[in-house]
Symmetry: C2
Subunit: 355 residues, 2 copies
Amino acid sequence: MAEVFEGSPEVVMVRNKQVIFKDYVNGYPKESDMVVTSDATVRLELPKNEDGQVLLKNLYLSCDPYMRGRMSKRLEGSYTPPFTPGLPISGYGVARVLDSTHPKFNKGDLVSGITNWEEYSLIMNTESLIKVQQTDISLSYYTGILGMAGVTAYAGFYEICAPKKGDTVFVSAASGAVGQLVGQFAKLSGCYVVGSAGTKEKVDLLKNDFGFDEAFNYKEEQDLNIALKRYFPDGIDIYFENVGGKMLDAVLCNMRVHGRIAVCGMISQYNLNRPEGINNLMFLILKRIKMEGFLVVDYHHLYPKLFEMVLPLIREGKITYVEDTVEGLDNAPAALVGLFSGKNVGKQVVAIARE
Amino acid sequence: MAEVFEGSPEVVMVRNKQVIFKDYVNGYPKESDMVVTSDATVRLELPKNEDGQVLLKNLYLSCDPYMRGRMSKRLEGSYTPPFTPGLPISGYGVARVLDSTHPKFNKGDLVSGITNWEEYSLIMNTESLIKVQQTDISLSYYTGILGMAGVTAYAGFYEICAPKKGDTVFVSAASGAVGQLVGQFAKLSGCYVVGSAGTKEKVDLLKNDFGFDEAFNYKEEQDLNIALKRYFPDGIDIYFENVGGKMLDAVLCNMRVHGRIAVCGMISQYNLNRPEGINNLMFLILKRIKMEGFLVVDYHHLYPKLFEMVLPLIREGKITYVEDTVEGLDNAPAALVGLFSGKNVGKQVVAIARE
């Protein structure tokens, strides 16, 4: 793929395919909000006089619901800056270091962290990058169970929900990147766990592959309150919230005394100009419920604990992680957009290069 | 007042004026939902063969917003049973023990706890009653700062909000039974505190008597979001929630990272058939906010800590407690109903008898 474009024979320039963010988005994002181009080129060598940089060959990219927020003009209260129109999308990924002027990283290292949606990325802010140490495990897992999704599930469930054996646990968007882990963590903690998802295929996955006690297709329920009462006749101790909106309102009516709600995401609301109103917050008082929002950025210190817990489980086959992988940057926009209609089955990954 | 009605000369029967709950209420309660009668009589002596009872002469009754819940037919999730149509209202009060067959209480003791809205009450379930020990302090304070309101403010502020010096604190319904204490606790903790209330008189009270740094009349604000930004340009660390509805929605937009919301009450919602929708819960995630509902029933163990803290402050005049006292059971229905239009200035008390 590498071609010598110009200049001295030592400088190798190659094509750098990119997914460019076109402009700020209103409502549901569309594939056409991004454009895939092969116009850019990249020098496969760093200038020696610039310290602290790494040149990455991107291998796997992660599609995450929070990225919708970066497609809007800076919102009041937003914790990440918006994407820049005309520049590539950025996000979490796994990459090989092709060149480095940073003392922490060497040529040949595998890293995970924030990179760009392109074949090769020059990273000047290396703060988010960490070295991939365990290479006997699928590298793509570092975008999910061993990445943000893993720490998110770990922090939200163990730190915020404080599970006890016998607790009843409900997980929405339960087959997603985070939900499938929360459900399995809950079973490992001796909880009764029910998940909701939006297709029969996902519901089957929850029951047959992830070991949820029960699962249901929320799209087939006339009344979510009644659906929840069916699976939780005595109420819900822990709700792991991924969707917001009507599901949250129904859950609030079904919480038990001293219940805990970890608010991880509200994907049903991200594309609405005005979020739906939640009417049942009085139950926070009546049932003395703790409801806590959280972001993975506050829990990076838990990576070692997550790895200590899940690496043996992965190696022993005691935890399952389902990925939905598309091949190549050309398919990346559709994969990202698909998150918001629930097209993905499991963790959505874009494979850019398999070494 | 005592008259000999019938029977042997040893048995003194007296009139027992009562506030009778007429029927379940929809929407705002009205005075006419209760009726004051003098039809009942009471024997001023307990039968000796019935153990574990006390006969009380009620002195002060407490009007509390939670009592609205007891005027509705049992709601799903409600933590207290509804009042019984045809029987007296019950609630928190202070009383003198006239007779006792309970080993814990003696004739002449002063007690606080759950009693009935009548002159004399025969209490068979004495579980909620505690002896009043400090009699150098206004007895009515045991319905407020030394009663439920005090423990509510103490638990909500110190246990749930976990204040740090320099935190910015917002209190709604800030001149009420609980709010006025939360504001003063916040000042004692070195916080910046702002309160909202519904009249100029209350706003003045907040600033001049309770030492709030700032206060505003929410009824005079076109846009609560703008009002909050005026007083909290850098956001709110702690919100002590007493009102719900539009105020909560505006506060959510103004919370700081890792903010805490103690949900004590939502008085603006109690008389609506369907509570208002809250649209801004996404901020729970963006700002990693903990929002926790609580009830005083879970914090009875904090009474000793509350007393240890506030008794010296009361005696030294370092804490102020404003009461709004009406005289006599005839005025009790109006006092209770008045809570929901904000008629009361400070803690609403009904004085039945001053000894």
